[in-house]
């Protein structure tokens, strides 16, 4: 699916002068409840409840006949962290997600900067090119990368390298961590560029002008003014890219194969192939914990900055 940016709602409606004739706030509390109840009930029933159920499953025991129940146990976690194969998958997941996030930051910054500092037409084209692939299914985009990265002479990159004479023999890229990083970078790159561009766009140009008037060089302005002011966007982007990469399935399955196994593939294998629900749930819990931890930390950091600035 097109995984799309996760961002907070525009939190508060813009403050307006108090007006006794305000139409909506005059509605009774019952109306608010009626508007919200169906969606919240749906979310509790089909999201919160099953999610908690699955995570709880990780401390339960599966009987030989497949039923899951008591006694409570931490055995699955011991098994997960005690088996080198699984620790390896965990480390691979963290490594791929970190590298993808780092590369996305390095390559996202220039593009975001150009987007906000260029003329409206170019900005519009760049925005289209960055966003459009988001709406193309991940499976389709990953297929394109499989065509490009394919090993042997049939791979497009190899064809290019051999034809131009840059390489004597084809390189092996497909089914490696590098291939997964390239694919993930492509899939999640917009999540880095868009929040960054919106943070950069909010910087008051007068601050940079002031710095210039005071004699700062453009490099120094970039380092001391632009970068610090864009950090919230960078934090949002990094959180998104990291969590989405860590939780991905399609890209590692197609581009990584068995040599770059990630947690998502392990969950799939444990549940659909081995039918070991408690252990699959354990792997899922580890993945969810990583993703939520990264989100909570980044949310805290952003909030601290905001309160620090308000104070």
């Amino acid at each position: 699916m097109a995984a799309l940016p996760v961002q907070a709602l525009p939190a508060t409606p813009p403050a307006r002068a108090r007006n006794p004739l305000r139409v909506w706030p005059a509605l009774p509390q019952a109306a608010t409840t009626a508007l919200l109840l169906p969606s919240l009930a749906f979310l509790v029933m089909f999201f919160a409840f099953p999610a908690v159920g699955l995570l709880a499953c990780s401390v339960l025991t599966q009987a030989p006949d497949g039923t899951i129940g008591l006694p409570l146990t931490l055995e699955h976690y011991r098994h997960f962290f005690g088996t080198p194969l699984y620790s390896h998958v965990l480390l691979t997941t963290l490594r791929i997600s970190l590298v993808t996030t780092g590369v996305a930051m390095a390559l996202g910054y220039p593009v975001a900067l150009v987007m906000v500092r260029t003329n409206p037409l170019v900005n519009r084209i760049l925005t289209m090119v960055v966003i459009a692939p988001l709406i193309v299914s991940v499976v389709v985009r990953t297929y394109g990368w499989q065509l490009i990265l394919a090993n042997g002479k049939t791979g497009i990159l190899n064809w290019l390298l051999l034809t131009t004479g840059l390489m004597r023999s084809p390189v092996k890229l497909l089914y490696s961590e590098t291939a997964v990083v390239i694919g993930s970078l492509h899939v999640f790159y917009p999540m880095m560029v868009l929040p960054l561009a919106s943070a950069l766009g909010r910087i008051d140009p007068r601050i940079e002008d002031a710095a210039r008037t005071l004699g700062a060089t453009s490099w120094r302005i970039f380092r001391r003014v632009t970068v610090p002011l864009s950090l919230p966007g960078l934090a949002v982007g990094a959180t998104l890219v990291f969590s989405l990469t860590a939780g991905s399935f399609v890209t590692p399955a197609i581009l990584g194969g068995s040599s770059a196994q990630m947690l998502g593939m392990l969950v799939d294998q444990q549940i659909l192939v081995v039918y070991d629900w408690p252990f699959g749930a354990t792997v899922a819990t580890v993945l969810v914990t990583i993703v939520l931890a990264v989100n909570v930390v980044s949310f805290r950091v952003l909030n601290l900055r905001r309160t620090a600035r308000a104070a």
């Binding site: 699916m1 940016p5 004739l21 289209m128």
Partner: protein
């Protein structure tokens, strides 16, 4: 100010930007090019020109079944997401009530949770409930993943709408319902359209939820393509992929038209 990008920094930025645009488009362009290749296997550069892969794919019964199932599912999910998401967006954007922040967070929470895991959790739930109708299970799951997008887009357009117009209409004697119908709805119509288009595409493209819930008779397009990647080596996959890219481009144009791409994504 367009003169802000100058000096050595600009010399670095423009080539990187151009390279990244190429990086973003490359896998899509390659797929389109290969889909016309007149060879029984994937080869680059593509040889000859043929539309045969499209003819083959469009006549393929698996593809037809998947296409109609995916389309029905996406339409159903969009309607469900609008039905649940639009009222919720109204409550969050226009009403002050205790717990408003928590309600907004709850509505968007499926976006933060790894989608793959949401899928497993639903599989377990449906197994426990003995709900064995695949289309119904998948509809529920797809409503769940598309609703947050509707909530976000509609909330954004409600926040941007000018409430003074509503106040003015009230002052001039219009009833609440009339204000809603004649003032509010027309103002947020682009947001509603964008939310619906988004929900449709998110459902149509979804893989990590469908992976768990689909069966052989109800196999959405992304799953079909994924299975083909594993065992078909001819350019027919490229042909299906190109059709999906084409659909996505149509939706992108429509989104840009109705609301502006960036605003529709609420970024």
């Amino acid at each position: 100010m367009s003169n802000r990008l100058s000096g050595p920094i600009a010399w670095l930025l423009f080539p990187v930007t151009a390279a990244m645009m190429f990086f973003i488009l490359a896998p899509l362009l390659v797929t389109v090019a290969i889909s016309f290749s007149d060879t029984p296997y994937v080869v680059f550069p593509p040889r000859g020109f043929t539309m045969n892969w499209y003819a083959k794919v469009l006549q393929d019964s698996d593809f037809q079944t998947s296409l109609s199932f995916s389309s029905l599912l996406a339409v159903g999910a969009t309607m469900g997401a609008l039905l649940l998401g639009v009222p919720a967006a109204f409550a969050v954007a226009r009403h002050q009530f205790p717990g408003r922040g928590a309600a907004a967070a709850m509505l968007l929470s499926p976006l933060v949770f790894p989608v793959l895991i949401t899928g497993v959790a639903l599989l377990q739930l449906f197994a426990t409930l003995r709900s064995d109708s695949t289309p119904l299970n998948m509809l529920i799951a797809h409503v769940l993943v598309t609703m947050p997008y509707v909530v976000r887009t509609v909330t954004a357009s409600l926040t941007l709408a000018d409430t003074n117009l509503e106040d003015a209409a009230r002052t001039l004697g219009a009833g609440r319902w009339r204000v809603f119908r004649r003032i509010t709805i027309p103002q947020i119509a682009p947001g509603l359209a964008a939310g619906a288009l988004f929900a449709f595409m998110v459902s149509f493209d979804n893989f990590p939820i469908s992976l768990w819930l689909a069966d052989a008779q109800h196999n959405p397009i992304p799953l079909l393509v994924f299975q083909m990647i594993g065992n078909v080596f001819e350019p027919s996959i490229a042909a299906i992929s190109t059709l999906m890219i084409l659909l996505a481009m149509v939706i992108v144009m429509a989104l840009e038209r109705v609301m502006g791409l960036r605003r529709a994504m609420a970024i």
